[in-house]
């Protein structure tokens, strides 16, 4: 019997990288929202005329009622931390901030739904669901979700 040729084989591996440019539309609602962050440091939501829910992130249509949500609502830059995590070992390409930073679902004051953003400037061990947080806007703003640099524990006086 001859030895199986597969037993002594070293497998070749081709390294590659797919890099394809995209240009994703933010849409009409997304554009108004991001322009407001960029130009006025102001969060906007939309209200469903049927169920009355204020969506943030804003929505063109209410996913529950299937109705258009044409009404804009101005929201506060403060809110409540619904849930959170600390990214201890983020992939370098996925680190907009130096680790450790966090992710949170934040429900802004005036909104009924939460949204995802970064947490920074907190002591490890200090984060709690239900705690108050506030937005820190980026100095250079370009019309992106990162015009809000991150959220941090609120310094508001109760």
């Amino acid at each position: 019997m001859t030895e199986d040729w597969r037993d002594s084989q070293e497998i070749l591996v081709m390294d590659g990288r797919i890099k394809v440019p995209y240009a994703w539309s933010a849409g009409e609602v997304g554009t108004t929202y991001l322009e407001s962050l960029r130009d006025a440091e102001r969060f906007l939501g939309t209200r469903c005329p049927v169920c009355g829910i204020v969506y943030h992130l804003p929505r063109m249509h209410c996913p529950d009622c299937f109705e258009a949500c044409p009404e804009w609502v101005e929201l506060e830059s403060t809110g409540t931390l619904v849930t959170w995590t600390i990214a201890r070992r983020p992939h370098p390409a996925l680190s907009p901030l130096a680790p450790p930073f966090g992710f949170g679902v934040i429900r802004l004051d005036g909104a009924d739904t939460g949204f995802l953003h970064l947490l920074y400037g907190f002591g490890v061990g200090s984060l709690r669901s239900g705690m108050r947080v506030e937005a820190v806007f980026a100095r250079e703003r370009t019309g992106s979700i990162l015009d809000v640099s991150h959220f941090r524990p609120s310094r508001e006086v109760v």
Binding site: R6, Q9, I11, V13, G16, I18, Y22, W24, A26, G27, G30, L34, Y55, H56, L57, P63, V82, T83, W84, T85, I86, A87, R88, R89, P90, H91, A93, L94, S95, P96, F103, G104, V105, I106, R107, T113, G114, F115, L116, H117, L118, S129, S144, I145, L146
Partner: protein, 380 residues
């Protein structure tokens, strides 16, 4: 439901890396095993369905690259991008549409790409993706919400990892049997609080296949044909902030639909065994509750009491689950296959005595956005 049965199943060996096999080689291995198991040849198959993901495979129309390997020439072929439970549901529908024998296969080579970069891309490119969120960090948000809702500690979540890695010793195709303790899990490094390394499923290479048939074509399989009694699915909101992350409402809906078909009104009593997609330990607890195997918030206690252990009254993931092998897409199909083997009494060393009705669960999307449930076995 019309009479449809699973008449053949096949899984490859699952491993962190299988460099000697291409994705197509893995598909061939799984399909060959499923055909052998069904005692059929590829000529007996009317329809072929493949499951693959372009991002993971690093090629567009990734399904086309495995067509040779699953014997699809001159056959009805369609392709599904998503978890294996959904792909198998597509196969079920092809049988119900009048095609006698349908082969569905799914593959995954996690070793060939970078998991966080790919799972990051499932998030919205305008509002979420550039924050750097991906599968583990988003799951961590859900784990925290679930712990907060029911006052659970990390040690309770760790019980799932200890149980399932231990179960994997009896499953010859599992990737990661581990003798581990709650202290070991707690001592493993945090990836994203509260999730630690041992709370998270590994990266895996592998493939699996099933063959479904209508009553006439299932006849040749005799008593080895396992009846599909009910399948249901349901979807929750895309944006994490729109959802109550602590409440597995989509799974509850999916289970209700599957149970309706299966005439199950008391799942905790009528289901003998469950295989769920616990890509992270806490998910097993949430999915048990969503499947109605216990009440909301009770799964931690149920696990701590040993009821979901191999010798418990409702064993969950005796195969070792996703924590012991997580070929994405294939994972849900593995859950279905494990249930089929258990109902047949052919699960080998991890066979549980007297399994008549088993339930399998899989999901798509972040934090179990879209859920699919299969009820298998039981009496005519």
């Amino acid at each position: 439901m019309e009479r449809v049965a699973v008449i053949g199943v096949g899984m490859t060996q699952f491993a962190r890396e299988r460099p000697a096999e291409t994705a197509a080689d893995l598909v061939f291995e799984a399909c060959t095993r499923a055909l052998e198991d069904a005692r059929l040849s590829i000529e007996d198959v009317d329809v072929v369905i493949t499951g693959s993901n372009d991002f993971f495979d690093g090629r567009t129309i990734s399904s086309m690259a495995v067509m040779d390997a699953c014997g699809s020439y001159d056959k009805n072929v369609s392709t599904v991008e998503g978890d294996g439970t959904f792909g198998a549901a597509h196969a079920l529908m092809r049988v119900l549409a009048g095609w006698g024998t349908v082969l569905y296969c799914a593959h995954h080579k996690g070793s060939e790409s970078v998991m966080p970069l790919i799972t990051n891309a499932m998030f919205d490119p305008i509002f979420e993706r550039f924050l750097g969120i991906e599968a583990v960090t988003s799951a961590a948000l859900q784990a925290r919400a679930y712990m907060d809702r029911w006052g659970l500690d990390e040690e309770t979540l760790a019980l799932v990892s200890v149980k399932n890695h231990g179960n994997a010793f009896r499953n010859p195709v599992a990737q990661l049997p581990l003798e581990t303790t709650v202290e070991d899990v707690m001592g493993s490094p945090y990836i994203a609080d509260p999730l630690k390394r041992l709370d998270c499923a590994p990266v895996t290479d592998g493939a699996a296949a099933v063959i479904l048939a209508d009553r006439e074509h299932a006849r040749s399989a005799g008593s080895r044909a396992v009846r599909v009694r009910g399948v249901g699915y349901s979807c929750d909101a895309f944006h994490l902030g729109d959802r109550d992350l602590a409440d597995p409402s989509a799974l509850r809906d999916a289970a209700a639909r599957a149970y309706r078909g299966a005439a199950i009104d008391d799942p905790a009593r009528q289901i003998d065994l469950a295989e769920v997609s616990e890509v992270f330990g806490y998910m097993e607890l949430m999915w048990c509750e969503g499947l109605g195997l216990c009440g909301p918030g009770e799964a931690g206690e149920m696990t701590a009491s040993g009821r979901t252990a191999r010798d418990g009254d409702i064993p969950v993931n005796v195969s070792g689950g996703c924590l012991s092998a997580n070929p994405v897409l294939v994972s849900g199909l593995n859950r279905v296959i494990e249930c089929v083997l258990q109902v047949r009494g052919e699960a080998g060393e991890h066979q549980v005595e007297g399994v008549r009705t088993a339930v399998a669960q899989g999901f798509n999307g972040p934090c179990g956005q879209s859920q699919c449930v299969w009820v298998l076995g039981g009496e005519e």
